[in-house]
Amino acid sequence: MPQSEHLSKQYDQDLDAIRSRVLEMGGLVESQIQTALDAYASGNAALVDRVIEEDERVNGFEVGIDDACIHIVARRQPAAVDLRMIMAIGKIVTDLERMGDEAEKIARMTRQLYESNQMPPPKFVDVRHVANVALSMLHRALDAFARSDAAEAARVVKEDAAIDAEFLAILRQLITFMMEEPRIIGRAIGVVWIAKAVERIGDHAKNIAEQVIYIVKGADVRHTDMANVERTALG
């Protein structure tokens, strides 16, 4: 969706600055999640600390971007696509911040598992695969935002179902383990928390993708079926 420029160059610059900061925040959250998963895989305590530290910066981005949006509304009274963009960004940064919280949960749970020496054996459950899908959803949702690409956003929305299914599969697998071996229940529950955090990251990525469709198409596709999401995004 190529947009021509505003008469006011300052307005263009202000909007561009907010968009860039959203992408910067998104990149930070991506790396935070990646670091949390690396910590889980390696048990490296320094990585756990880094994830927790980074959350402060993510929170700072959220507050700063919200503040910038309020100022745009107050000073410019944005309309149409600009209005949709500002409103959607307000929601997108909330999703990004919560993804940061999920990364922090993964990190803290990892530390608990390692410190209590309850780390599940390698290949205990494959959280890594589903985590990579969630990370790629986030990456592509941000990409769709940067390029105002509704079709790509629709594909991200669609992928969330796969993550939900995989989470249930992990849960079933862990329940089986726990029934066979009650001694591992403590650490299995730790893994459930981590898998749940990954699943939530997928949900937030989906929310971001829905907001991208709203920005580009002006239609609110939240809580509608996939057929409607695709029809809206491609129409």
Binding site: S4, L7, Q77, A79, A80, D82, G218, H223
Partner: protein, 269 residues
């Protein structure tokens, strides 16, 4: 799992009213200059319809067709029609007397233009022109009109002083009261607040909100935020054409036409 979406709760906008007036195939010429091109638009009853667009787009020209103001100058020519309902009169038909039209359709201009008379006489003027002579009736109508125009409390003790002694905002409300005294069906506002400060502007906008309980309003404004604030429907005009007409809620959030979007987002010179 996909869930069926609950019915979306809408919190804004009034339901569509009946149609009070409609332009059909309306074109207008100032001599050889074609100022309006094939305009088709409904005006919903007891709603506010805003006409927006850049200078020279024809929005004031269009507004003035409704009370046949263009008849005052030779060489002007209408094509098409403007129907006024429920009687389905074509306001532009040559056999329709413009004076009759103006009895039913009031107009408020950019700059307040009270008559050089007292406050009372300004409002009573239309009634007297209509042949009303009973003092009691005129008193009552003047009071009602001034109350409806939210001016009564400010002027009730000085009805006999000159209208020019009022402030700009009060003069504008006096002009609105002057229109209301004759019970018009349609009120035309041509940039009614562009000569007023923000507080006087606010009181006129508030008045427009109140008036739509009883009268249909068509307003030309080059202040887009004003259109967004006061209107139920918005028509965007450009180069004498109607580009887009729709509910104000839709026009300002999701216009269908790229030209409308460029204009309301400030992307157009």
């Amino acid at each position: 799992m996909e869930i069926a979406r609950p019915e979306v709760q809408r919190f804004t906008g009034a339901a569509d009213g009946a149609i009070k007036a409609a332009a059909g195939g309306l074109s207008f010429y100032y001599g050889a200059v074609n100022a309006l091109r094939n305009i088709n638009v409904p005006i919903h009853e007891k709603r506010v319809t805003a006409l927006i667009g850049p200078s020279g787009c024809g929005k004031s020209t269009f507004l003035r067709c409704f009370n046949r103001m263009h008849d005052l100058y030779p060489g002007n020519r209408y094509e098409g029609e403007i129907r006024l309902f429920p009687d389905n009169t074509n306001l532009l038909a040559p056999e329709v007397d413009p004076i009759e039209v103006r009895m039913r359709i009031g107009m408020v201009f950019q700059k307040p233009n009270p008559f050089p008379k007292t406050i009372y006489e300004n409002v009573a003027y239309g009634l007297r022109v209509r042949g009303e002579r009973a003092r009691r009736v005129i008193d009552e109508k003047v009071e009602q009109a001034l109350k409806s125009a939210a001016l009564w409390d400010e002027v009730k003790d000085r009805l006999q002083s000159l209208a020019f002694n009022l402030s700009g905002g009060q003069q504008q409300r006096l002009c609105i009261a002057r229109c209301l005294a004759t019970d018009p069906e349609l009120l035309l506002f041509d940039e009614p607040t562009s000569a007023l400060d923000p507080i006087a502007t606010g009181s006129i906008e508030e008045l427009i909100h109140k008036l739509k309980d009883r009268v249909t309003i068509l307003i030309v404004t080059h202040n887009m935020q004003q259109a967004a604030r006061v209107s139920d429907y918005t028509a965007y005009m450009y180069l004498g054409e109607l580009v887009e007409f729709g509910r104000t809620d839709d026009i300002f959030v999701k216009p269908r036409d790229r030209r409308t979007e460029d204009y309301i987002t400030g992307r157009m010179g």
